[in-house]
């Protein structure tokens, strides 16, 4: 198996995630796209860990997974609060701080 197969798959997933973050208006869908991006990063970490025969890649991936879980928890709490206050999670309507 080539190292590049994993890295290119990671790159494709990352770009799909970036597209999702930019194109989606729904707060929950944006959070899902962020998960795609973080998973693409994890694929790269695991691939390089296997390539260099070290478990450090796995350990970093574990940290990323943990931080991603915390991020989803906080993110969904914020989306929930947004919904409660505005009855909508359309991110285009969140322009209170627009100058």
């Amino acid at each position: 198996m080539l190292l590049n197969e994993m890295l290119l798959l990671g790159a494709v997933l990352f770009c799909i995630g970036v597209y999702g973050v930019l194109a989606r208006r729904n707060g929950v869908l944006v959070l899902m796209s962020i998960e795609l991006i973080l998973n693409a990063v994890n694929i790269n970490l695991i691939a390089f860990g296997a390539f260099h025969d070290t478990v450090t890649g796995q350990i970093f991936a574990l940290f990323v997974i943990t931080v991603a879980a915390a991020e989803v928890g906080i993110g969904l709490a914020i989306v929930l609060l947004l919904y409660r206050n505005r009855r909508s999670i359309d991110l285009d309507q969140v322009d209170l701080m627009k100058g």
Binding site: M1, L7, V12, I16, R25, E71, R84
Partner: protein, 171 residues
């Protein structure tokens, strides 16, 4: 070796197709379910290259916990979003261009640097799975301080989420 290639090809194709559906489908619940397929594919890849502990953790935390959290989020914020409003921006072209440009740059860099590099190039004796024992040894010796920091971070996120999402009482 061939079996590995075929397995990788199937997993990768399913993952890319599902990921595209996650960012294009109009139904939010379907997006969450397609995300499950992508996350399962990532876990399968981890197992394929021998990162067993991370693969299992991926299934437990992502598919087990994060997706359930997403489904709760969808359920609690369910509005008339799906019917009247688009889930996407009207002008998608800038997003498509940005993503494609990013993809082109990354593919160019990766092909330039890592073309034909084998995954087990550093391992003359062939690739062996990285066992859970190795991961725990490393995690609880060299990385013990980040490990403790991350546990404090999780506690802070837990308290923060409760405080943010709590209904104000009498206020």
């Amino acid at each position: 070796m061939i079996a590995e290639h075929v397995a990788f090809g199937i997993i990768a194709a399913v993952m890319v197709a599902s990921a595209l559906r996650v960012v294009t489908t109009r139904d939010i619940v379907h997006a969450a379910l397609y995300l499950v397929i992508v996350l399962a594919g990532v876990a399968a890849l981890f197992l394929l290259v021998g990162a067993e502990f991370t693969g299992i953790t991926q299934v437990l935390i992502y598919i087990g916990a994060v997706i359930v959290l997403f489904l709760f989020g969808i359920m609690l914020t369910r509005s008339d979003f799906d019917q009247d409003e688009e889930a996407d921006h009207r002008h998608k072209l800038p997003a498509v261009l940005t993503a494609l440009l990013l993809l082109a740059v990354m593919i160019g860099a990766l092909v330039d640097r890592f073309a034909d590099v084998k995954l087990d190039a550093n391992l003359p004796g062939g690739r062996a799975p990285q066992t859970t024992a190795q991961v725990s040894d490393e995690l609880f010796s060299q990385y013990i301080v980040p490990f403790e920091a991350v546990s404090v971070l999780l506690l802070a996120a837990l308290i923060g989420a409760i405080v943010i999402a709590r209904r104000e009482e009498g206020g």
